[in-house]
Symmetry: C2
Amino acid sequence: MVKRVSLMGADCPVARALDVIGDWWSLLIIRDVFDGRRRFSELQSGLGIAKGMLAVRLRDLVGRGVLTTAPASDGSAYREYALTEKGSGLFLVIVALRQWGEDHLYRPDEQHSVLVDIETSCPVDRLSLQSTDGRRLGWRETEVRAVGAA
Amino acid sequence: MVKRVSLMGADCPVARALDVIGDWWSLLIIRDVFDGRRRFSELQSGLGIAKGMLAVRLRDLVGRGVLTTAPASDGSAYREYALTEKGSGLFLVIVALRQWGEDHLYRPDEQHSVLVDIETSCPVDRLSLQSTDGRRLGWRETEVRAVGAA
């Protein structure tokens, strides 16, 4: 988490997003909370991360409004972490990372976990970018317009 | 880039993806190459990153097959960086980060850059996840099935 420059003043939303969640461990923590791991001990054993590193990142994610804490649902003394509305908005970031990993980082004979539609147990569709009138857009058909550009 | 554990053996595609590009600077470099910055000096001045840090990350991204280098298109002695097919597959990761940043990290009166469809100059549509039969899926309607799960 060496960050020499804060990008929270950037006029590029990608830069601001990375400033909030652009840490390897933080995105894995968020992934695990999406997958239903909610307690410190579950996150720690699942990720194999040092307790101190996990504690710092969880505090940071709570402070940035991505996660929130609440008493455990079973009435025990534990606390649980949950995604805020802002945090759950990161779902498509996780899905996009997953689909890229599936496409490029496995040998054809290698197995990986899959994201399925609970209702049908079928794998979800691929993400795609579209124009507002429904054409599929590749990256070369788009461009970033800076603030103030016509 | 302190990585205590390599996740390249993980059976979760998100973990493998983050192992390859899960560094704050690396994703900003990739964003800038998508935006047309191709030379070391352009990337360095645009990002305000130290030359040594940029050189390490570019070498790493080339080594991992995300970027490639080629002689400059103007015939000069410079070299240019370009996205490989694997690298250009990261477009939707960048778009998902952008849309999350737009939604959650700006005040209503604050301006930010926008991603537009070149043909119409209209902002692109929002990404959404769908089932293979066309229903929109929220994160609670999906789940990750581990390798070997029924």
